[in-house]
């Protein structure tokens, strides 16, 4: 840690990991509800569990992004953070708001929560991933703006590198496109059209800028490769991201009532979306192969390489699999989507967060890398989580193919629920893979408390 104020990143990373654990626990509940339908009913109905699962994912990712910003920006700008105090205040506001939101989901019926929180003044709730009550949404905007203000001023008073610039662009984009979550017209088609301006332009747009900047930063630190080379790669990757990804939004506009030319625009451009992810993989391996130093943090290197590979597989390959309109006609809204969603989100965003945390946390704890034993544990957790996520994806893909075959093809299609009974085996297997993932997560947490062996202290 080069600058004292980078320390504010630590609580953000800890909160991120805590919420990650919550996300996985609720994922296990839902996975079990898929096979034993009335599990925990009516205490936690499936839709509530899902809201908690997906919202925790979003919130822990935001915590990790902000932690990454607070850690990376002072180091890149070569100056102390503009206001560490503001960063800590915002941490507590965000944590309390997030916790209250989750408690709200679990403690009162959703309709009551909507009434209590002013949804009748401005109705924004009840749309996938944007279920948060109005005060939470406003809170997200306030916290994001305070964060952006803080890091933007830090960059303005210090060195301006391409990495901080790209990170700032991504984070500003995140805040701006979130504003579409406040637009909820009563026309469902328009609602859906602009809902994607938040959801797609986040995960297949500006978030990839944040991902790229975080990965580039860690790669510079652990490989010692020349900044010029790494930043050139970064620009090429994010150029391809936006060139393909913006019009690629069209792959969501095939069947929601939008004009049919979107089938062409969406298919062609989103078919190119794997390119930046493939480049990310090549980039990560290339930089590690050309490394000019042996950084003692092997675990962080593993996470960085893993991010490249898994984001390419999850977002790139599994995305391509169902992105062409004639294919998507059959796969849209099935377990294929769930399969893609799981590996893409884990491979791209969960893993880049864990990469950043893996690199920065030891620094924040006053060492350059954890002891060998702690790193071994962390690498075990990497493999357990990654491999079980591959299996979760494969099982859901199998379930999805079978579902499409039985429910949507052939002359005698089955009903939705009859089809679900037919694919039950794969849901069981998915749940088992989920339990292995959880074991990996426990090992991950444990690695932070491993006392065995000597930590590395050299700079």
């Amino acid at each position: 840690m080069l600058y004292k104020s980078q320390a504010v990143a630590k609580p953000y990373f800890i909160a991120a990991i805590g919420l990650f654990v919550g996300q996985i626990l609720f994922g296990l509940i839902m996975g079990y509800q898929y096979v034993v339908g009335d599990f925990l009913f009516p205490a936690i109905p499936f839709n509530v569990a899902r809201m908690v699962h997906t919202n925790l994912l979003i919130v822990w990712t935001l915590f990790a992004f902000m932690g990454a910003g607070y850690y990376l920006i002072p180091e890149e700008a070569e100056t102390e953070l503009f206001s560490p105090k503001l960063a800590i205040i915002m941490f507590w506001i965000f944590l309390v708001a997030g916790a209250l939101t989750i408690v709200g989901y679990l403690a009162v019926p959703y309709a009551t929560l909507a009434q209590m929180t002013g949804n009748d003044i401005l109705a924004t709730m009840g749309r996938e991933f944007l279920e948060q009550p109005l005060p939470t949404k406003v809170g997200i905007v306030i916290v994001a703006l305070a964060f952006l203000f803080n890091i933007s001023l830090t960059v303005l008073k210090g060195r301006k590198t391409s990495i901080s610039l790209v990170l700032l662009l991504g984070l500003w984009g995140l805040a701006i496109f979130f504003l579409f979550s406040f637009y909820n017209p009563s026309n469902l088609v328009l609602d859906k059209y602009f809902w994607w301006w938040t959801v797609h332009l986040w995960v297949e747009g500006v978030w990839e800028l944040i991902l790229g900047a975080m990965l580039a930063f860690v790669l510079i630190k652990i490989t010692g490769v020349d900044r010029e080379v790494i930043e050139k790669w970064l620009y090429v990757i994010i150029a391809m991201t936006l060139i393909t990804g913006i019009i690629g939004t069209g792959h969501h506009y095939f069947w929601i009532g939008a004009p049919e030319y979107w089938q062409w625009f969406g298919s062609v451009f989103s078919a190119l979306e794997p390119i930046p992810f493939f480049m990310m993989t090549v980039f990560a391996f290339n930089m590690v192969n050309r490394r000019r130093r042996e950084h003692p943090n092997k675990a962080a290197t593993l996470w960085a390489l893993g991010t490249g590979v898994m984001s390419f597989l999850g977002a790139g390959v599994w995305g391509f699999m169902h992105t062409l309109a004639p294919v998507n006609f059959y796969t849209h809204g099935t377990q294929i989507t769930a399969a893609h969603g799981h590996m893409a989100f884990f491979g791209a965003y969960a893993m880049v967060n864990l990469t950043m945390i893996s690199y920065a946390m030891p620094m924040l704890r006053g060492r350059s890398a954890n002891s060998r034993s702690a790193q071994t544990l962390e690498m075990w957790s990497f493999w357990l989580m990654t491999v079980s996520m591959v299996f979760i994806t494969l099982f859901l893909t199998a379930a999805g193919i079978l579902q499409i075959w039985l429910q949507r093809m052939g002359s005698n299609p089955m009903s939705f629920m009859d089809t679900q009974d037919q694919v039950m085996l794969f849901y069981w297997l998915r749940e088992i893979a989920g339990l292995v993932f959880f074991v990996g997560l426990v090992l991950y947490i444990w690695s932070f408390f491993c006392k065995k062996g000597e930590a590395h202290f050299a700079a």
Partner: protein, 141 residues
């Protein structure tokens, strides 16, 4: 990457590409919004449909069901449920939940009034009439 291809060139491709394709996206969006009325039949969005969408949202229906293929995959597609089941069945179904069948997926009881049930059905009826380019592939959704 080769030495002749510089960081400045990469940066220019990024800014140029991002701006160009975002402007193209805005232009396509403008055209889409212009042509939507022919496909979404918005002249049929009555007050009841508007209230129905509000019921749909405040009960978080999308947390289990899909609508036009978007949502959760735990329960049936409802974009075409009006055509599959009809309004009376939908109302009776919602009123009779949960089934309580052991081990089966359960839908909560939302205690909707008759007016609210009618509104929800209006919303689902209007939704089933959106021109979705013939999606879903068959009536099962």
């Amino acid at each position: 990457m080769s030495e002749t291809f510089t960081k400045a060139m990469a940066r220019n491709i990024f800014y140029g590409g991002a701006v160009f394709f975002f402007l193209l996206f805005i232009a396509l969006t403008f055209d889409t919004v212009q042509s939507l009325p022919k496909r979404d039949h918005r002249e049929n969005i009555t007050d009841s449909v508007v209230r129905g969408k509000h019921i749909w949202e405040t009960r978080d229906c999308v947390g289990c069901h899909t609508i036009l293929g978007e949502g959760a995959y735990f329960a049936p597609e409802l974009g075409n449920v009006y055509k599959r089941r009809g309004g009376e069945f939908i109302k009776a179904w919602i009123k009779s939940q949960p089934t309580g069948a052991p081990g089966r997926r359960q839908m909560p009881q939302f205690n909707l009034t008759d007016q609210q049930l009618d509104d929800l059905v209006s919303f689902l009826k209007w939704t089933s009439e959106i021109n979705t380019s013939n999606w879903p592939p068959n009536i099962e959704g």
